[in-house]
Amino acid sequence: MSSHATPAPLGGKIWTPFFQFLAGVFAVSVILMIWRFVAGLGAVTGLSDAYPWGIWIAFDVVIGTALGCGGYAMALLVYIFNRGQYHPLVRPAVLTSALGYTMAAIAINIDVGRTPYIYKIPFMPHWWNLNSVLLEVALCVMAYVAVLWFELAPALFETWRKGSSSFFRWLADTFDPIIRKLMIPILAIGVLLPTMHQSSLGALMMLAGNKLHGLWQSPLLPLLFLISCIGMGYAVVVFEAHLSSRAFRRPSEAPMLARLGVVTGWITVAYLAIRLGDLVVRGKLGLAFQPSFQALAFWVEIALFAGAAFLMLTPARRGRAMTQFNAAVMIILAGSLYRIDTYLTGYNPGDNWSYFPALPEILITLGILALEIMAYLYIVKRYPILAGGSSTAPARA
């Protein structure tokens, strides 16, 4: 295929005022994290026996990894469906995914009450309960974090090889050929693992049975989670491409993103058809017309998905950068709301119980998010992630 612009480090100052602000947010969250390990979960969270899972699971892990599906979604397109023209979008997507999944892993370590025993999950296979969907999620996510960093490694090696540290030069020279040789199996595993655990993140809540509202409880939870995470993955790629082209004054990739938007739009249409069809078949659609908070949340979800699909599929609109950006934000919000609703809003352990995240709980989530953004900014400025150069116009493969 014709040459697409080569990725290059953006360069520039790291310690900007915005970065300092993020560092401040993260510092506050570190203090609260320490307090959580000293005083227990109850001291910093709104969690209770009725609501054992809060925003650290619903937001940091379930939404965080779904937003980290950019790498997965792009790998599907570029490597599985052989659409090489989207290649310039792969590296930034893999970076966001690696960071998103790593942050989710950090959040899990803070959320589980007996963190030092987490090592037992990979290292005590004779204790594995193969009926546990959560075990599958845990093992898959652990493996996938490693896979994502392997996928990203060649980009990091490029910078290290030119760097001043002889240790990093040695690392790059030694491991770059090995990783490149292994890249086909790594990429294949990197598509399999999210297919497994993103669907299983939906399957998890099937065990909540009647406690999960009829608008969300469904035998199709795994399928709906899988389809929506792919849509969210593309949306994040579009979102990030626009944001970075504006923030770093890079050339716009709007034509390529419009075509990606069409893919996303059709995925969203498929999602909506299955989502609504499932409710009709199970006779639960009536719940959507009851005057309840859940019904309202459901319609907001549907409206966001449908609105985004409309924007992405209307030929007259989808070429505009602003439309693409708005549609991407709507998909991200819609998929996130679907997850929040499945894990929190639609979860009802009984009357007289409620959950709202405590302030330290929210601050820890924000701190982890700040860390993620800091890592992103540092890496794109120092490592060849984003396609630079004069033109990123897509070439037909």
């Binding site: 009450g113 060649p154 399957a203 065990l207 035998p219």
Partner: protein, 296 residues
């Protein structure tokens, strides 16, 4: 391209066939029955006078701390519900003139949702079908709390090294393992312990002897796949008023397990998918001129 597509479609068809074959494989998820030596309890709400002797006995037998958090003055051990200091509690249902007591503790399900949830098997069904917790395997993920339809597993949110707290039918009781203290002390024999089959027969005998006295059902005989703790409720007080949800006869984990095992049975589908993906990645690397591999 057309050849590749055909190959891809062939592989996809194989995968699809595996998906289609899966339900047949999982209908085999056997219906669990109580083990032959199953022990349990029978609580007859019409006999209970709400004296809470069982609550005190439970705390003593299990060395549980007092719970004065609701009362606030430190004078009463007065838990209002199951919690991290209380494995057994007596609750009151009142609607107008009608009242009923309710004893809450682990139901020791025949096919427990919590056990299906638990990653490392820290919750397991032991001898006599009793569900117990084993801390050396527990990461504190609290999926058991999401899974349990009765809201039983409680968690020490106030502690830096929390445990899961639930009734274990006095499995570890000193000198008297598996002899529930609550049943020993009940002055009205409103709750009795014994072999599951005997208790079920006794419950049915009571129903048959006094049909006007009871709701016409033994809760736990089939509910949510069955429980080893059985309940009788007074006529006019449906079980859901006592906090025992209407789960239907399907085991709570059934649907999730059928679907999940359908997808992962024998790892056929994941392996097939991996093969398809690896082939596709190999093809795209060749065609996109990136024989040297990598993400560049």
């Amino acid at each position: 391209m057309s050849v590749d597509r055909r190959k891809f479609l062939k592989a996809a068809a194989v995968t699809g066939a595996a998906v289609a074959a899966a339900p047949a494989a999982v209908e085999a998820r056997e219906r669990r029955v109580p083990p032959p030596d199953a022990k349990g309890m029978l609580y007859d709400a019409t006999k209970c006078i709400g004296c809470k002797t069982c609550v005190v006995a439970c705390k003593q037998a299990n060395n549980m701390p007092i719970d004065d958090r609701e009362m606030g003055d430190g004078l009463y051990d007065a838990p209002t519900d199951l919690n991290s200091r209380t494995k057994n509690v007596i609750k009151l249902y009142r609607e107008g003139e009608r009242i009923s007591y309710m004893k809450a503790q682990c139901m020791h399900c025949v096919d427990p949702s919590c056990i299906n949830a638990c990653m490392m098997g820290s919750l397991k069904k032991r001898e006599y079908g009793v569900v117990t917790w084993h801390g050396e395997r527990c990461t504190g993920c609290r999926y058991c709390g999401i899974a349990c339809p009765y809201g039983v597993p409680k968690y020490e949110y106030e502690k830096a090294w929390p445990k899961v707290v639930k009734c274990e039918l006095c499995a570890e009781r000193e000198g008297k393992p598996f002899q529930p203290a609550c049943c020993e002390v009940c002055p009205r024999e409103a709750v009795i312990a014994g072999n599951y089959t005997d208790l079920l027969a006794e419950a049915k005998r009571r129903l048959a002897a006094n049909p006007d006295r009871y709701e016409p059902k033994v809760f736990g005989e089939t509910d949510g796949g069955g429980t080893q703790v059985l309940y009788l409720s007074a006529a006019g007080v449906p079980f859901d008023k006592l906090g025992l949800p209407d789960l239907g006869p399907e085991p709570v984990p059934q649907l999730q397990q059928v679907i999940q095992h359908g997808i992962y049975q024998g790892a056929v589908i994941p392996v097939a998918l991996l093969a398809v993906f690896a082939g596709a990645v190999w093809r795209s690397h060749r065609q996109q001129g990136e024989g040297k591999g990598g993400q560049s």
